[in-house]
């Protein structure tokens, strides 16, 4: 009994630093954010309590609705297509051997190490309506040159495309590691049994690579829900209200409009959305269950 109490005490002491730092650095700011969202505070300084007025404004705010839609659209355009592309590329790269595989892999991984500003400048010029090399691709398809950063229907798909190009190296790496872990004997046995290539993929590769797929999807989902940099950079000076995404709207209200209280209300809304998504995803993973 005494030793149990001692153990509890030791455990508490050991856990205390984490709990203290976590409460101080994460929980307390979260509480403060909720408090802030109930005030009309500017970015710096105190505001007065205004109840739920910020949330009432949020519900009627068209730009907020647009930001939710744009964020969801962007997630839709990047998470599953990006992961599928990464799997396809990884399957192809895994068939290569030796130095050639390293070379091709590093070619796919190279964009991932670029900072977003470099990505921005690269693609800005590639798609430039006067001098861009991509216009040679777009013009025959669309019939005329087009500024993809200013024509709304083109904006999100193009940003999604370059985001996949930019961030896919990491997913490819994860998939490649997963593929290497599948024992060769399984494929040998399958081919002895006369399995086709599709059967080998759907019955062996796909089920065994599924945990990695889930990991990639999760990382991508969290990453893309927080989309900010690319949209901010490419839309800057143009139709920012129409291409607004959630994190950008928080930034816009807090730092451009100097409205800390309202920005906090949007942040709380984003927090709720992310929590809801996480629970939803957790449930889906539970359905697939531990095998």
């Amino acid at each position: 009994m005494n030793s149990l109490r001692n153990q509890t005490l030791v455990a508490a002491v050991l856990v205390a630093p984490f709990v203290a730092i976590y409460s101080w650095m994460f929980l307390w700011p979260t509480v403060q954010m909720v408090q802030l969202s109930l005030t009309d505070a500017p970015l710096i300084g105190e505001g007065k309590y205004i109840g739920l007025a910020n949330y009432e404004r949020l519900i009627q705010d068209k730009t907020f609705g647009k930001a939710i839609w744009n964020t969801a659209y962007f997630v839709l355009l990047t998470v599953i297509p990006g992961t599928a592309a990464a799997l396809a590329i990884a399957l192809m790269v895994s068939r290569l051997k030796g130095w050639l595989q390293s070379l091709v892999l590093s070619a796919f991984f190279l964009p991932f190490v670029l900072p977003v500003t470099v990505v921005y400048l690269l693609w800005q010029w590639m798609f430039d309506i006067q001098f861009g090399i991509m216009q040679a691709v777009l013009e025959p398809i669309y019939g005329q040159t087009v500024n993809v950063w200013r024509r709304l229907p083109f904006f999100m798909p193009t940003v999604a495309l370059l985001t996949i190009w930019w961030t896919n190296g990491f997913s490819i790496l994860l998939f490649l590691a997963g593929l290497r872990n599948i024992p060769k004997e399984l494929y040998e046995a399958a081919s002895l049994d006369g399995a086709t290539r599709w059967q080998a993929f759907s019955r062996i590769t796909w089920p065994l690579i599924w945990p990695v797929t889930v990991l990639c999807l999760t990382i991508q989902l969290i990453l893309q829900l927080k989309i900010f940099d690319q949209v901010y950079l490419f839309a800057s000076g143009g139709r920012t209200q129409s291409t607004m995404v959630l994190v950008q709207y928080i930034f816009d209200q807090a730092f451009v409009h100097n409205d800390g209280g309202y920005a906090a209300a949007i942040a709380v809304a984003l927090f709720v959305i992310v929590v809801a998504f996480s629970v939803f995803q957790y449930q889906i993973l539970r359905i697939r269950g531990p095998k």
Partner: protein, 438 residues
């Protein structure tokens, strides 16, 4: 650790601590005496690019001249919202710089946030300045509610750049060697058409992909009709909405008539002009170094820059001012010595702004504008005629560079300039978003 060891360790530690304390005290004394002899001024600016390189030269000169009295420790930060956010947050906790560059157009917001210290008439007297040191519009721009919050260093308007070779070939240069016959919408269009008939691809290079940037031009044309954007709670009242739509229409017509390329980004617009594919360019004076450098390397045609031609009733050009402001560092007011050093920095910079003019900007100090060296500087002296015709941003917390006003313009006018929506609808959209500001 065994108990027996504690004694000696503590004793040794105390002795060592004493030594350390002594050394630290000595260092502090040395530092204090050095500080008495030499004042350090922490300086923040947002000047990258061509003007940043020139500012660096000025700062080096200042430090060399004041080697035993003042040292400026300068840091260049990112232009726009990042700079102003950093200034606001650091001043609020007393960690701001001693002096910084500031856009005059951003002063009303800064004052409402208590980010800036007021400059008194006594301060101005110490610097040997009065309101008459500056042009009236420039002086007015640094005053908010009757109090002065910054010292103007320059004004940086937009101007019309032109390809002198092409204009000469088309007979559009007057006897004085300057462009002629460009006033009025029809005359200007005719001039652009003539250029294109002569084999130039575009008449005009203008940033049509960025309504926020193009707002500087649109705002100038609004003022040329005696129009005004209005102010908090009363945006675009009376016929001002109509006048603003007229202004947008000017650029929309250039695009739809094929004089100016649609949806063109800033760097591409500059490239179109410098490569000779466009005969004219409307852009800020800060592009002057680009032209000068290209010309020096023999990679540019003969060129010039003039005040914006009059499209409507009177000459008028958008301008902003780089000014020096002193942050209101909360809880850490500057010592009198520090304040004097800061004033000396501002005074020196203002008096040496002739060199700054090589970056294209017009020195705010009138006595510098009158120097023979400035009058010999081309094209700076030519477009300096616009000084009496400047219009600054409205005095609103929502106005200024990288502000909600510019943002609203970007959203409303980008599509309108390129014919996706009508100028009237765009102005209505802009008015709605301005009215929604709170």
């Amino acid at each position: 650790m065994a108990r027996g060891q504690t004694g000696p360790v503590t004793q040794g530690g105390t002795a060592m601590m004493k030594n350390l304390l002594g050394a630290a005290g000595l260092m502090a004394l040395l530092a204090a005496s050095a500080a008495q002899a030499k004042e350090t001024v922490v300086w923040w600016d947002f000047l990258g690019g061509g003007d940043g390189a020139r500012m660096k030269t000025l700062l080096e000169e200042f430090n060399a001249e004041h080697a035993d009295s003042i040292e400026i420790q300068a840091t260049t930060l990112d232009w726009g919202v990042p700079f102003y956010t950093k200034v606001q947050t650091s001043a609020a906790v007393g960690e701001g710089p001693d002096v910084m560059t500031y856009h005059a157009s951003r002063l009303p917001l800064a004052v409402s946030q208590s980010t800036l210290s007021e400059l008194t008439p006594d301060d101005m007297a110490v610097m040997g300045m009065t309101p008459d040191t500056f042009a009236p519009a420039t002086w007015d721009a640094v005053n908010v509610d009757g109090k002065q919050y910054a010292v103007p260093f320059d004004t940086h308007p937009i101007v019309l750049y032109y390809n002198k070779d092409k204009l000469e070939a088309a007979g559009l240069l007057g006897a004085d060697g300057l462009p002629t016959g460009l006033n009025g919408i029809d005359n200007f269009s005719a001039a652009m058409a003539k250029m294109q008939e002569g084999g130039t691809k575009w008449g005009m290079a203008i940033t049509t992909a960025d309504g926020g940037f193009a707002f500087r031009t649109i705002y100038s044309y609004l003022c040329q009709q005696n129009g005004s954007i209005g102010n908090d709670g009363a945006w675009l009242v009376d016929d001002n909405a109509e006048k603003l739509a007229n202004s947008v229409q000017v650029i929309a017509d250039w695009v739809s008539n094929g004089y100016a390329p649609s949806y063109t980004e800033y760097p591409a617009a500059v490239a179109l002009f410098t490569s000779g594919e466009a005969a004219f360019m409307i852009n800020g004076v800060w592009e002057v170094p680009t032209m000068v450098d290209l010309e020096k390397n023999g990679k540019l045609f003969n060129w010039g820059a003039i005040e914006l031609p009059v499209m409507f009733d009177k000459p008028c050009t958008y301008a902003d001012s780089h000014a020096f402001a002193i942050p209101n560092n909360a809880g850490k007011p500057a010592t009198p010595e520090k304040h004097a050093a800061v004033l000396e920095v501002i005074k020196w910079m203002s008096e040496h702004s002739l060199f700054w003019a090589s970056a294209g900007h017009i020195p705010a100090n009138k006595s510098v504008q009158e120097l023979p060296e400035y009058l010999a500087m081309q094209p700076q002296a030519t477009y300096a005629t616009l000084i009496p015709n400047q219009v600054f941003d409205p005095k609103s917390v929502f106005a200024g560079v990288a502000s909600p006003l510019f943002d609203a313009a970007g959203n409303a006018f980008t599509a309108a300039m390129n014919g996706e929506v009508s100028p009237t609808d765009a102005v209505a959209e802009m008015k709605a978003s301005l009215d929604a500001l709170q």
